[in-house]
Symmetry: C2
Subunit: 498 residues, 2 copies
C-alpha cells in the first residue's frame, strides 16, 4: 500500500502528530463524559498546548519540505497521493492563517459560547450581537488569508468540505428548496403522516431505554470490542483510533425516538471510521472524506434505514421487551410516530422534509454576512422573514429563532451546508445500494445488515480520505453529487410517488 | 511564588511537557477502565510516541541549558530551587540512560509481563526465568549508567526514592525485622486478634458495596468535583491534574474489607495530590515527594485511620445501611475482622505486622541479584528459605512464592522498599499528628477528618515535591526517617503496650 520511500518517511514522522490527535480525541471524549468539573481549567491548557505542538510539528520546516518533495514525485499510487494531498492541504491551511488570527478566533469563540448560552436563556440578541459581529469579521479575515476565486464564503466552506463551492451549493438548493416546499405542502394537507403523536409526550425509564439503544446498535452491527456507548449533553461520535470509535447519546426522559435516532445517527458516523481500510491506521487518511460524506453515513442509518417501515417492524419486538407503554402500538403506528412531519421553528426537531429548508436559511444568511451584504443587526428580521417564507411559521422570540444554534457562537461559518450535502449523498447512496443489493426495505426486514455494512464499506468507508469528496462520489457512485435522488426518495416515501 | 526570570521561562516551556504527561495519565486511566479491547494496539503506539516526544522536549538543548543556567542562580526561593532540582534530576537520569537501553527494557518488560502471567498460572518458574535474568542484567546496566558510590542497588532505589540508599534501608529493616518478629510471635499466641474470621467468606452485592465505598470516601472528604471512583483490575490512583485526581477499586465479590481498604488506600494517595499548593499546578512540583512518602499517605488512611477501633465504630452504621449480613456484628467484631493477623504466603493479603517482612524478603533478594550475589536460578529456593525463617511458612509452589508479584516482570527493581518506607513514615506522621491534634482515636470517632486533612496538608501535602523526601521529613516531622514509631504503634495496638 505504501511503498514510496518519501511517503514512508512522511508517515513515520506523521505518527507523532497522529499520537497527539489520538490524545486530543480522548481528552474531548473525557471532557464530555466522565471528567470531574474541577478538571476544566487544566484540561483547557493541556488541549491548547497540544494543539499548538501538533501545529508546530506539521509546519516543521523539514516535514513541510518532505511533503513538498513528495508532491512532485512520479508513480505514486492512489493512497500515497492521498497522503500527500491531505497533508499538503493541512499545511497550506495552517500556514495561510497567522497564529494571531487563530488565537483571536479561539478566544472570541470561547467567550462567545458562554455569552450565547446566556443570551439564548434570556432571549437577548443584543447581548450576543457584538460577538457574532466579531466572529463574522474574523472569519472574513480567514477567507482573505485562505484565498478564493468567486466568493469569500468559498474559502470557509472548503475548510469543512474540500473543493465544494458556493456555486455547487446554490445548485443543490436551487433544485431542492422548491421541490421540498411542494412535497411539504402536499404532506401537510394529506393524511398519511401525522403532525403530532401521543408518543411524543410519553415518558420512559432511562435504563430501559439504554438497553433498547444498546440492542439496536448491536443489531446494526456496532462492535463493542471497538467502541462504547456513553451519555453526554450532546450526542457525538469520536474516533480515538481505528479500533476505538466511541459514540454517545442523551436521555431527555420523554419522546423516546429522540434518543433512539440520535444513537442510530452516531452509529452511522462510527461505522464509517470503523470500516476504513485497516492499513490506513495512524495515517492522515484514517478519517472520512469530508463532513458532508460523513453526514451521509449518519443520515443513511438514521433516516433511510431507521425511519423505514421495515425498521419499525424489526424494532417492535425490541421495544416491546423494554418499554411497557409500547405494547398497544403496532409497527405501522411506530412508523407514523417516527415520521411526524411538522414545520417547526427548531432545526434539531425537524423531519426529513423540512430539515434542508432550515439549512438553506442558515446558508443564505451566513453567506450574505460573510459577503458583507447582511449586517448582523438585520439578521433576526431576515431570519424571521425567511422562516415565514420557507416554512410558514415565525419565531416569537430570538431563542427559538436566530439564537437556537451553537455553530456561529463556536466560530463555525460554512459548516451548515454539510448537513444538506449529507442528506443528498445519503439518498444517492440509497439509490446505488438498491441497484446493487436490491430492495432496501427487504434487506432491512431480513436484518441483513452485514450485507449493507459490507456494501457501504466497499463503496465509501474503506477509502478513508484517500480521495477528495467529489472524486469519491463520482468514482464510487458513478455521477457527481445530485439532489434528484433525495427529491425522488422524499416523493416516494411521503407522497407514494414512484 | 515564582519570581525568577529564568525559572519562569523554564515553567513556561515545561507546560508543554506537563500537557503531554497530562494526556499520558488520562490514557493510562482509560486503558484500565473504559477503553474497548480493540484500542490496545493504537493506544500503545500513541503512548510510546508521546513518551519519546516528552523525553525529546526535556532533553532539548536549549531547555537543558536553561535548567543548567538556573542551577547556578543566586537568591532563588525554595519553590524555585525545587523546580530546578526536580528537572535537573530528570534530565540527569534521562541523559545517562542510552535510548537503546530504555527501549530494550520496555520491550523486555512488555514481553515478560505476558509470560509472567502465563507462568504464574502454570506454576512454571523455568518459563519466566530467562526474562527475569534479562531484566536483572538490564537493570544492572542501568545502575552502571546512572552511577553509584556503595552499591549498584543504590542507583535503582534512587529512581523511586530520591537520595535513599542501601545503608538507610538496611538500618530500617535492621531494627524493624527483629522487633516485628517478636510482636508477631506474641500476637499469634494471644487471643486479642484472630487469625481468621467468618466474614472473610461472606459474599456481598457489588452495587451495595459500591455505595459503601462511596459513602466512606465521602466521609473522609474525597471531593467528587475533583475526582471519580471507577472499577479496574488493580486499584490505582491517577493524577490527571491537580483538580482531577481519580481513584479506582475492584470488587472480588466476597471478603468486603478487601475492596473497602483498597478504596481507602487509594483515597489516601489521591488526597495527597489534591492538597498540593494550587500555585504549583502544571509545574514539576505538582506531585508527591517520593513513592515512599506517597505510600505513607495511603497507609495512614488505610491502616492508621481505617483499621482503628474508632473507625469501625463510625463505619458500623454505614455498613448496616447497605450490607444485610453485617447487622449481627458489632464494631468490636468488625475491628477484629479488619485486623486479622496471620502469616500468609501472599504479600497483598498481609496484615500490618507481617507486611514489612514480605518487603524485607524481596528487598534482600533483589539487592543480592543486582549485586551478582544471587543467581536467578537459586532465587526460588532462597525465597522459600527466607519465607520460612521470617514467617514460619513455606510456599508449596512458585505461584504462591516467587511468582506472586508483578513488579519484577514489569522491570521494577528497587521499588519494593518504598512500601516499607511508607509504613514507617505513616507511623511517624501518626505520632506527629497526635502531638499536634491530640488523640487520634478521638478525632476519628468525632469524624473530624477536616482537621486531619488540614494537618496533613500543612505538614506534607502542600509542598508537593518542593523538597527532597529526606528534607521534607526532617523539616516537617522534626527528625529523620525512624522506624521506632512504627514499632511503638504496632506494640501499642497489637500488644496493648504503651
Amino acid at each position: 500500500m505504501f511503498e514510496d520511500r518519501v511517503v514512508k518517511e512522511i508517515l513515520e514522522r506523521y505518527r507523532t502528530i497522529w499520537s497527539i490527535s489520538h490524545a486530543l480525541s480522548l481528552m474531548s471524549w473525557d471532557n464530555e463524559t466522565y471528567m470531574p468539573r474541577g478538571g476544566v481549567e487544566e484540561r483547557s491548557t493541556a488541549r491548547a498546548e497540544l494543539s499548538v505542538l501538533a501545529r508546530k510539528l506539521l509546519l516543521d520546516k523539514s516535514f513541510v519540505e518532505l511533503v513538498e518533495k513528495a508532491l512532485h514525485r512520479e508513480g505514486l499510487n492512489d493512497y500515497e497521493r492521498g497522503v500527500v494531498r491531505v497533508l499538503h492541504r493541512q499545511i497550506r491551511i495552517q500556514k495561510s492563517i497567522p497564529e494571531r488570527l487563530v488565537f483571536e478566533l479561539v478566544k472570541t469563540a470561547g467567550e462567545a459560547s458562554h455569552v450565547w448560552r446566556e443570551a439564548r436563556k434570556k432571549n437577548d440578541f443584543q447581548m450576543f450581537k457584538p460577538y457574532l459581529e466579531k466572529i463574522v469579521k474574523l472569519r472574513r479575515e480567514y477567507a482573505e488569508h485562505l484565498g478564493y476565486d468567486d466568493h469569500p464564503y468559498d474559502a470557509l466552506l472548503d475548510l469543512y468540505e474540500e473543493d465544494m463551492r458556493v456555486r455547487d451549493v446554490d445548485a443543490i438548493f436551487g433544485k431542492l428548496v422548491p421541490e421540498t416546499r411542494k412535497i411539504l405542502e402536499k404532506v401537510v394537507s394529506g393524511e398519511l403522516f401525522p403532525d403530532k403523536h401521543e408518543l411524543e409526550s410519553m415518558e420512559y425509564d432511562r435504563e430501559a431505554m439504554d438497553r433498547v439503544n444498546r440492542e439496536v446498535v448491536t443489531l446494526l452491527g456496532y462492535p463493542w470490542d471497538r467502541g462504547r456507548l456513553d451519555v453526554s449533553p450532546h450526542p457525538f461520535t469520536i474516533t480515538i483510533g481505528m479500533k476505538d470509535v466511541r459514540i454517545t447519546t442523551r436521555y431527555e426522559g420523554r419522546d423516546f425516538r429522540r434518543t433512539l435516532f440520535a444513537t442510530i445517527h452516531e452509529f452511522g458516523h462510527a461505522l464509517y471510521n470503523l470500516q476504513i481500510d485497516e492499513r490506513l491506521k495512524m495515517t492522515p487518511l484514517a478519517s472520512g472524506a469530508s463532513l458532508g460524506v460523513h453526514e451521509s453515513q449518519s443520515r443513511f442509518w438514521e433516516n433511510i434505514v431507521g425511519r423505514s417501515l421495515s425498521f419499525a417492524e424489526i424494532l417492535k419486538p425490541i421495544l416491546d421487551k423494554h418499554l411497557d407503554f409500547i405494547k398497544r402500538y403496532d409497527a405501522q403506528e411506530l412508523y407514523r410516530y417516527f415520521n411526524i412531519v411538522r414545520p417547526d421553528l427548531i432545526r434539531v426537531e425537524a423531519d426529513e422534509i423540512t430539515y434542508n429548508l432550515h439549512i438553506y436559511l442558515r446558508y443564505e444568511l451566513e453567506k450574505q454576512m460573510i459577503a458583507g451584504e447582511l449586517a448582523v443587526d438585520d439578521l433576526p428580521e431576515q431570519w424571521n422573514d425567511m422562516m415565514e417564507k420557507l416554512l410558514g411559521i415565525k419565531p416569537k422570540n430570538y431563542s427559538e429563532g436566530v439564537l437556537q444554534d451553537i455553530h456561529w457562537s463556536g466560530g463555525s461559518i460554512g459548516y451548515f451546508p454539510t448537513y444538506t450535502i449529507g442528506n443528498v449523498v445519503a439518498a444517492q447512496i440509497r439509490n446505488h445500494a438498491e441497484n446493487t443489493l436490491g430492495d432496501l426495505e427487504k434487506i432491512i426486514l431480513e436484518k441483513k445488515f452485514d450485507e449493507l455494512r459490507e456494501h457501504l464499506k466497499e463503496t465509501i468507508h474503506k477509502w478513508g480520505s484517500t480521495y477528495k469528496p467529489k472524486e469519491l462520489i463520482q468514482k464510487q457512485l458513478g455521477e457527481p453529487i445530485n439532489p434528484e435522488y433525495l427529491i425522488k426518495y422524499l416523493k416516494s416515501k411521503y407522497l407514494k410517488e414512484s
